[in-house]
Amino acid sequence: MIKVKFFGMINVKNNISQLEMNEGTVKEVIKQIIEKNPEIKAKELKEAVIFVNKKNITGNKRFSLKLKDKDEISFLTPSGGG
């Protein structure tokens, strides 16, 4: 299973912190999330800052990255504070 974590405004707006999903590409995992949690908008996740196993993935190919069992994907929003 893939561990999925939500932070920042995605966490707040959807009142969700963590889920578990089946293996697949980032795109497929996002699709699974939306199917099971229709209140979350695909756009929110696609535009988020994404970390896979604590490594930031960027660029257009990030959605085709394959996630394996026990991998962790985190969705964050850029932030300000301090």
């Binding site: 974590k5 932070f7 920042g8 405004m9 966490n11 707040v12 912190s17 696609k46 535009e47 988020a48 800052v49 994404i50 970390f51 604590k54 930031n56 960027t58 660029g59 257009n60 990030r62 985190s74 964050l76 929003t77 850029p78 932030s79 300000g80 504070g81 301090g82």
Partner: protein, 632 residues
């Protein structure tokens, strides 16, 4: 004079003489208000080095032309003095309502001179200024002191036991907000000054009221619709960035030995919101409302800010959020800076772990910290040593390489080995290890934007730009959080778009252009009211010929004047540095770039600043800034 209350009060605690400090219109135009105006006053008051805890030292409290107006987030006020922690100039900025009430009482500032023989506080009601006995207040915590002072609708500024006992990082508290850094509370305590209470009913005349109100309405609207100031800060507070700091290796952990904390989810803003938040609130005139109300000891109290979450959390490997909330509340009650407290404890824990100073303090164990905190406030036992701060401890016990301070002031929560610009900012900040006075480059280097934190390219110029910009914003009297709206919303909403990624990559290459503009600010003789709302607001408030270039130049002038005061206090260029842990030890062994490459940036920084190789502002630069006659 438009925008100002016009009077600056001078209170001599030794002679009890109360009179006025005269300030010309030209001086106001050059130094605006807040910390830069305070620097001008302090520079002129002394002509030599002054000891922090001496009768000669003065306290300067200032507000600004935007204070007590309809400008958003404009209730800030500043307190400056010579710091007992660093021996250098310290300025500390605070929200709440004190600045508002001070202005309504008819004052742009108060200068406190000398030392009282008795315990006193100052009561200001319009023109009526009295020095009153604080005998019944002495020894009380800050909350009780403010209650005992009486009426609710007055501005109050008080110290707790830590200030009375000259703890080197004692804070001054107003409502639940802190003049936190640098031990200003100890200067109050040394002067036997428990605090001030102020109120009045004066109105401030504006240069063009109609245009000012129209502009500030639009400015407020922009803050409310911006994703950071309109959404994230109200919902999550200043701790909103803690999670991103963890992922970007920017979160101080275990006395700055790491940049990420495996238990970050137990102490982040999302968890505080879910498990502890009662409501959010904020300062007078602020549409952001970033402050948290949470519960401690069965009552509703201020929630911890980001710095406190990190310094009392990850920095101590403490994953117990309720303990952070409790300690934060107690720090406010005793009047103690949470940043230096957390950093000093982290350093003491590492000394204990390494067997250098067996003191019983251990990472991951905060069970005795409330007791330790009280001992610090009372300067009892081990608390007496801990009350001196990190630098003094390292001078006694060793461990200077991992004593995380710059010029004696402990660093804030941002681990700079993943953000070169933030590292340079810490090293050069006039206050010492301060993120805000350092330019807060980390907001570009991974938090709000995603500019490469590993590169040194362009960082010297950008650091200077933001140091001066934030200096000017402080002088104007608005909260630094309002500067987030300068970041285009698109960059926050769509961080993965091709355009945003392209700009992030390009930004370091703009360094030379930013450096050129810094040295030729006349080029920016324009007012872009939406992009940078401050200059136009100041112009409509005061009638000064203000534009972006003049505004930034005022910031640069202030920064240089503060530097001159520090040099007079004995500062040398080689103190513009960081502890070896941050410049020599890799944060992550697999990444050879994970250390601050200060040597690649510092000379460039001096050059753009117009300082010589020893970090002394050149005569030419000072003349260009209109302060050529300020000699040390």
């Amino acid at each position: 004079m438009f925008g100002y209350a016009e009077k600056i009060l001078k209170v001599n605690l030794t002679t009890k003489i109360i009179d006025e400090y005269i300030l010309s219109k030209k001086a106001r135009e050059m130094f605006i208000g807040g910390k830069t105006l305070a620097a001008k006053i302090i520079f002129e008051f002394f002509n030599k080095k002054v000891e922090a805890l001496s009768e000669e030292n003065i306290i300067v409290i200032t507000n600004s032309p935007l204070t007590a107006t309809s400008a958003p987030s404009s209730s800030r006020f500043n307190v400056s003095t010579i710091s007992p922690l660093t021996g250098l100039l310290i300025s500390s900025n605070c929200g709440g309502n004190f600045g508002f009430h001070l202005k309504r009482a008819g004052y742009d500032g108060i200068i406190i001179i000398g030392k009282s023989e008795e315990k006193v506080y100052i009561d200001i009601l319009n023109e009526k200024v009295e020095i009153k006995s604080a005998g019944q207040l002495w020894g009380k915590n800050t909350g009780e002191t403010q209650q005992l002072m009486g009426e609710k609708n007055r501005g109050k500024l008080v110290i707790g036991r830590a200030g009375e006992n000259l703890v080197k990082y004692a804070a001054v508290i107003s409502e639940e907000r802190a003049i936190g850094r640098g031990g200003i509370g100890a200067v109050f305590g040394y002067k036997n000054l428990k605090g001030l209470i102020v109120s009045g009913n004066k109105n401030i005349e504006l240069y063009d009221k109609e245009k000012f109100i129209k502009h500030t309405k639009n400015w407020t609207k922009n803050l409310k619709k911006h994703p950071l100031t309109g959404e994230q800060l109200p919902k999550l507070g200043s701790g909103a960035i803690l999670t991103m700091m963890h992922y970007r290796n920017l979160l101080t952990t275990k006395n700055y030995s790491r940049g990420n904390f495996e238990d970050f989810e137990k102490i982040n803003a999302e968890t505080m919101r879910k498990e502890h938040l009662v409501k959010n609130k904020g300062c007078i005139s602020c549409p952001i409302q970033c402050a948290r109300v949470v519960k401690a000891y069965g009552k509703e109290v201020k929630g911890p800010e980001l710095e406190t979450l990190a310094l009392l959390g990850s920095n101590l490997e403490n994953n117990d959020l309720q303990s952070i909330i409790n300690l934060n509340h107690l720090c406010d009650e005793y009047g103690i800076d949470t940043i230096t407290f957390g950093s000093t404890i982290g350093f003491a824990m590492e000394l204990n772990e390494k067997g250098i100073w067996k003191n019983g303090l251990n990472f991951k164990d905060v069970s005795d910290l409330e007791n330790i905190l009280e001992k610090i406030a009372n300067r009892e036992g081990i608390g007496d040593e801990l009350a001196e701060g990190t630098k003094k401890l390292s001078e006694k016990y060793g461990g200077k390489d991992f004593a995380i301070n710059v010029k004696g002031l402990e660093l804030a929560a941002y681990e700079p080995r993943a953000a070169q610009g933030m590292g340079l900012g810490y090293a050069t900040s006039n206050r010492g290890g301060c993120h805000l006075n350092g330019g807060y480059m980390v907001i570009m280097e991974g938090l709000g934007l995603n500019v490469n934190g590993k590169t040194t390219k362009g960082k010297a110029a950008f650091t200077i730009f933001f140091q001066d910009f934030m200096e000017a914003v402080s002088a104007g009297g608005t909260c630094l959080f309002s500067t987030y709206s300068v970041l285009p919303a698109k960059f926050i909403k769509k961080p993965n778009s091709s355009f945003v990624r392209f700009v992030n990559k390009l930004i370091p290459y703009f360094g030379p252009l930013v450096g050129f503009l810094h040295n030729n600010s006349i080029v920016m003789s324009l007012n872009m009211k939406n992009l940078m709302p401050y200059p136009y607001a100041l112009k409509m408030s005061t009638g000064f010929k203000m534009n972006i270039g003049k505004f930034l130049k005022a910031g640069e002038r202030g920064y240089n004047l503060e530097r001159l005061i520090n040099i007079r206090q004995g500062l040398k260029g080689d103190q513009d540095t960081l502890p070896k842990r941050l410049t020599k030890e890799l944060q992550r062994l697999e990444d050879k770039d994970s250390k601050v490459k200060l040597e690649k940036m510092i000379n460039k920084y001096y050059k753009i600043r117009g300082w010589d190789e020893n970090g002394v502002p050149t005569k030419k630069r000072l003349e260009k800034l209109g302060i050529g006659d300020y000699k040390i």
